[in-house]
C-alpha cells in the first residue's frame, strides 16, 4: 500500500487558498454549485477549490455534504 505523504505535493502551497474558515463559511453554496457543475464551481470559487485540494478535513466535510445533497 502506498500510504505515504508526497513531499513535493505536501510542500506545495497555493496562494489562492482561502483557508478553512472562509471555505467552511461558503461550503453550502459551493457544494450546490459543484453538484450541478463542478467546473463552474471551481471557476467561480478558485480559492475554495484550492483549499479543498490541500485541506484533508475540509475536503472530507465537502465530500460528506455533497453526498448528503446528492441523495
Amino acid at each position: 500500500m502506498n500510504d505515504h505523504i508526497d513531499l513535493d505535493a505536501f510542500l506545495h502551497t497555493d496562494p489562492r487558498d482561502v483557508g478553512c474558515e472562509e471555505a467552511t463559511e461558503a461550503l453550502h453554496v459551493y457544494a450546490e454549485l459543484y453538484a450541478a457543475d463542478p467546473q463552474a464551481a471551481r471557476t467561480r470559487y478558485p480559492g475554495i477549490a484550492a483549499h479543498l485540494k490541500a485541506c484533508g478535513p475540509c475536503s472530507t466535510d465537502f465530500e460528506g455534504l455533497l453526498a448528503l445533497i446528492s441523495e
Binding site: 505523504i5 508526497d6 484533508g56 448528503l68
Partner: protein
C-alpha cells in the same frame, strides 16, 4: 434573494411560535440525525467504528448541529437550500466528534520531540534508495529544526510525523481548524523555500 418553497417553509416554521415551531424543531432534529448517521457511517469503515459508536457519535453530532443551526438561523442568507446549509453544520460536528473520539482510541500519542528515524518512511523514502534522498533529508531536517518556530514544529510533528488528524489536534489544543491549517501552511511554504533554494525541489508551479 429568491428561495425555494421548501426553504421558505422551513424558515417560516422555525421562526413561528408554539406548536408550529415545536413541530419544526422535531422535524429539524430528525433531518439532522438522519444526515449525521449517513455521514458517520460514511466515515466509519476507515476509522473502524462499531455500530454503537456510530450511533452515539451521530446523536452527539446531531444535537450540536441542531444548536448551531438554531443559533445561526438569522445568518442564513438564502444562498442555498436551507437543508444544504443545515447539513454543513452536521458534517462539521461529525468531524469534531470524530476528532474527540480519536483520543479515546489513541490516548498515548506522544506530544514530545520528533522521532526522526520514522520520518523517511512518512515520505516514502526507502532504505534501499537512501543514496537518492539522504542529502535532501539532511537539508529538510535542518530546516524543520532551525527555520520553523516552536509552534510550527509542534504542529508539523503532530500532524505529519505522528499522524494525528487535524480535527483531533484542534480538539486537544482547544483551537479551530483554520488556526492549525494556517500554521501548517506557513511551515510548508517555509520548508519548500529552503528546499528550492538548495536545489532539492523545483520552484512552485
Amino acid at each position: 434573494m429568491a428561495v425555494d418553497d421548501a426553504t421558505e417553509q422551513w424558515l417560516a416554521d422555525l421562526r413561528a411560535t408554539g406548536a408550529t415551531r415545536d413541530a419544526a424543531h422535531a422535524r429539524l432534529h430528525d433531518l439532522l440525525l438522519r444526515a449525521a448517521r449517513t455521514e458517520t457511517n460514511r466515515r466509519a469503515n476507515r476509522l473502524r467504528l462499531t455500530g454503537v459508536e456510530v450511533d452515539d457519535l451521530a446523536h452527539q453530532a446531531a444535537a450540536d448541529a441542531m444548536l448551531a443551526v438554531l443559533a445561526k438561523l438569522s445568518q442564513f442568507r438564502g444562498e442555498s437550500r436551507f437543508t444544504t446549509w443545515a447539513y454543513r453544520f452536521v458534517v462539521f460536528e461529525v468531524s469534531t466528534k470524530l476528532g474527540r473520539h480519536f483520543w479515546t482510541r489513541n490516548p498515548a500519542v506522544p506530544l514530545d520531540g520528533i522521532a526522526w528515524e520514522r520520518v523517511p518512511a512518512v515520505f516514502g523514502f526507502s532504505a534501499e534508495r537512501e543514496a537518492e534522498w539522504r542529502e535532501l533529508f539532511v537539508v529538510f531536517r535542518h530546516a524543520v529544526e532551525n527555520e520553523l518556530t516552536d509552534h510550527q514544529r509542534q504542529i508539523f510533528q503532530a500532524i505529519v510525523v505522528d499522524g494525528v488528524p487535524l480535527d483531533a489536534l484542534r480538539v486537544r489544543l482547544g483551537t479551530n481548524r483554520n488556526a492549525i491549517y494556517k500554521v501548517l501552511f506557513d511551515a510548508r511554504r517555509k520548508l519548500r523555500a529552503v528546499l528550492v533554494a538548495k536545489g532539492h525541489l523545483p520552484e512552485e508551479r
